[in-house]
């Protein structure tokens, strides 16, 4: 399981790229622990993946945004699972530790490109 650490200022975002296996019934879910209020997670724009065949894996992105006023640490655990089979181990997992520094919202807060999720 891959673990990454990132430091963001309030308003700043970090893009996580994960391998999607939706054609096999898998979905990425996530859970935020720690200072859960300092970050938000949302699906990002769909990366270009031309001509993917049925069943093939695709690239997905998720955007982690640091929320004001900052000043906290959160752990985001992404798990790729099949919802009807809760007892199955996740196909893949990815953990992002986020430290959000205290401060005001960064004007036009940029997106820090990241990557993650083996495979």
């Amino acid at each position: 399981m891959e673990v990454r650490r990132v430091v963001l200022r309030p308003g700043e975002t970090y893009a996580v790229r994960l391998t999607g296996r939706g054609a096999r019934g898998y979905v990425w879910t996530w859970r935020v622990t720690g200072d859960a209020d300092v970050v938000s997670v949302a699906p990002g724009p769909r990366p270009a993946s031309p001509g993917a065949a049925p069943g093939a894996a695709v690239e997905l992105s998720y955007v982690v945004r640091a929320r004001p006023p900052g000043g906290g640490r959160a752990r985001i655990r992404f798990a790729q699972v099949r919802p009807p089979y809760p007892d199955e181990a996740p196909y893949d997992e990815y953990v992002l530790d986020v430290e959000v520094t205290p401060g005001e919202v960064t004007p036009g807060g940029g997106v820090t490109p990241g990557s993650g999720g083996a495979g």
């Binding site: 939706g22 054609a23 019934g25 979905v27 049925p54 069943g55 093939a56």
Partner: protein
């Protein structure tokens, strides 16, 4: 409170209500649980044909003939697809078709799980082959998705499409069973990063050519109305579509898209349609946890399901391994002939020789003589097809009380003497039991023959060098008649039924886990003494699915020259029951099978005038067929 995934099941349910959706989320998911995400869908690929590029096809040219399945023949007639019958325009097609159960029979193999590989396309294609073998030949033919997936050298994560799979199956001698080469997944513990790249090294058993359901061609159908006619008159279709986030939550109801987030491209097997609900019925390959037991419904035209051509099959040719429990004695159904359902028959003729007879699988179903061979046959032979390139194999008791093996080499078209072996005191004039078991690959030959002292003698051959026959020992006593009545059960042990000197019948079984000892089983009979060896098969009645044992069907000639038909329910554990008495002037039942004719039972008898005659049973009972010829 920890923050969780943005869209929960509860939110999806609210979304469905807001958009007036006609489907509901899986009932077992709680509102606070997450539902999918992903992205990307089907895009024009190298070997996935848009429906618009196919257009209407000539259905009458493709399927304008009688099917082995009488129900389908009626459906084709209703559509005006047979001969000069008037074409019925509107109203011929039923409002709904569901192949899970038509005419009181199941036709679709169980829902499987491709997890964790991207092999939906292989599962769609394999499901199509399985269902068409069942529909056209009335036999469960469990196939291996791994055969085509690994035969194509695809990795676990590699996507493809059913057309690529069907092209490979067509060009590579068909699709094998899981015991020849299984569907396999990355080993446990392999890191996720390496799982998608993992591939199995394809090494099927070397008798693969004898254990594949062969396919000559497949059909692309682009026209939706023709797809429905095909579903009504032929069978299921493969289909591919885009998967959106909300699809993972599909439970009951008719799916239509309520999400804009693409999650990937997917392929399934369409097993029916419902015009009233406006949807296709599909069998998914994500296990039984998704949708309703693994089956779902998608509205016509949704998520591009009608954008791509759907693929259908006809003219499947099942292998002898698939049909190994469905015949016994001197007759079996080979894959020869246009309809791949010729009957092959061996019988004695003058000079202690054996005469090969055959019957074409299409009307007028005339019997014809083929070649003669051998010179020392004392009685009717046992005849079967094996995984050795689908060779025909014959075994008879010689005039000297031994056993002699002959085989028909398909590639050369000649009968070859496989040599003599055996006890030296086999009952002259009797027929041995002769099957191929699943011990080893290719499976061992198993033979049981009655000896002159009223016992039973088991012989077996490992099908590999040095190809020697081994004496498996003698058992039982007081056996009056024994012959073609040996079956390998789903639990792998051997069952046989013999007629005792008191005129009753008894089952014997081999206790493999405890020293391969033969043990006596139940005794049954009507009180009218058996006068010949019983014929025993495991048929398709009672086989609710591909993993369930069918009933035993047994026919035996009794005093008075009639045939008694007995059966035992293997799945439900019901005891032996006599279901019918039929025929006249019968000296012995020499062969029996359940073939590709609407689950009919077919029996060949030796009459008291030394001629062979065919009897058969359909839903209306037993019928007297033609006299085939002298022995």
């Amino acid at each position: 409170m920890p923050q969780e995934s943005v869209q929960s099941v509860g939110e999806l349910r609210a979304q469905l209500i807001a958009r007036g959706a006609r489907w509901s989320v899986l009932e077992h998911l709680a509102d606070e649980e997450p539902v999918p995400r992903p992205s990307l869908g089907l895009e024009p690929g190298a070997n996935l044909t848009p429906a618009g590029a196919v257009g209407p096809v000539d259905l009458a040219g493709l399927i304008g003939h009688a099917s082995g399945n009488p129900h389908l023949t009626r459906r084709r007639a209703a559509h005006g697809l047979l001969g000069a019958a008037p074409r019925t325009a509107a109203g011929a097609r039923p409002a709904a078709v569901d192949w899970r159960n038509r005419w009181g029979w199941p036709w679709i193999t169980k829902v499987k799980d491709q997890n964790p590989c991207g092999s939906c396309w292989a599962f769609g294609a394999a499901g199509l082959v399985e269902s068409m073998a069942r529909i056209e030949h009335d036999v469960w033919a469990k196939r291996s998705e791994g055969d085509v997936h690994d035969g194509l050298r695809f990795s676990c994560g590699q996507g493809s499409n059913p057309e690529t799979a069907l092209d490979w199956i067509t060009a590579n001698g068909g699709l094998a069973d899981p015991d020849c080469w299984p569907y396999s997944i990355p080993p446990a513990g392999l890191p996720a990063a390496r799982r998608d790249a993992w591939r199995a090294e394809y090494t099927p058993s070397w008798d693969r050519s004898g254990r594949t359901v062969r396919v000559t061609d497949y059909v692309r159908l682009g026209d939706v109305e023709q797809q429905k006619v095909w579903l009504d008159t032929v069978g299921p279709l493969t289909a591919c579509f885009d998967v959106y986030d909300d699809f993972f939550g599909l439970g009951s109801g008719v799916y239509h898209r309520t999400s804009d987030r693409l999650a990937g491209g997917h392929c399934v097997l369409v097993v029916g349609y419902d015009d009233a609900a406006g949807c296709w019925l599909f069998k998914n390959s994500w296990g039984t946890g998704y949708h309703v037991g693994g089956y779902g419904r998608i509205a016509y035209g949704e998520v591009n399901i009608d954008y791509w051509a759907k693929c259908g099959l006809r003219g499947t040719n099942p292998d002898p391994w698939t049909k190994r429990r469905l015949h016994t004695g001197n007759v079996y159904e080979s894959g020869n002939g246009r309809a791949h359902r010729n009957f092959e028959l061996l019988a004695t003729t003058t000079g202690a020789r054996l005469q090969h007879w055959w019957r074409e699988g299409d009307a007028p179903f005339a019997w014809a003589r083929a070649r003669t061979f051998a010179h020392d046959a004392s009685g009717q032979p046992a005849f079967t097809g094996t995984t050795y390139n689908r060779n025909m194999e014959s075994l008879h008791v010689t005039t000297g009380g031994r056993l002699r093996h002959w085989y028909y080499e398909q590639s050369a078209g000649v009968w070859r003497d496989g040599g003599a072996f055996g006890p030296g005191d086999a009952a002259i004039g009797s027929t041995p039991a002769f099957i191929q078991s699943d011990y080893g690959k290719p499976g061992n030959f198993e033979v049981v023959v009655r000896t002159a002292d009223g016992r039973l003698n088991h012989w077996w051959r490992i099908n590999g060098a040095p190809w020697t026959w081994n004496d498996g020992g003698r058992f039982a006593s007081g056996i009056a008649h024994y012959g073609p009545a040996l079956v390998q059960t789903r639990a792998r042990h051997l069952d046989l039924v013999a007629a005792r000197t008191d005129g009753r019948m008894q089952l014997w079984w081999r206790d493999d886990p405890n020293g391969f000892v033969w043990r006596a089983g139940e005794v049954f009979g009507s009180g009218t003494p058996a006068i010949c060896a019983p014929c025993l098969i495991e048929g398709q009645y009672g086989a609710a699915d591909e993993d369930t044992a069918g009933n035993y069907e047994l026919c035996v000639a009794v005093a008075g020259g009639q045939v008694e038909h007995w059966w035992r329910g293997n799945a439900g554990g019901s005891p032996w029951r006599r279901s019918a008495v039929f025929g006249h002037d019968v000296a012995a039942v020499t062969g029996m099978l359940q073939g590709s004719f609407g689950f009919n039972l077919e029996v060949v008898v030796l009459r008291t005038d030394r001629r062979l005659q065919h009897y058969w049973r359909d839903g209306a009972g037993w019928h007297e067929g033609p006299v085939i010829g002298p022995v």
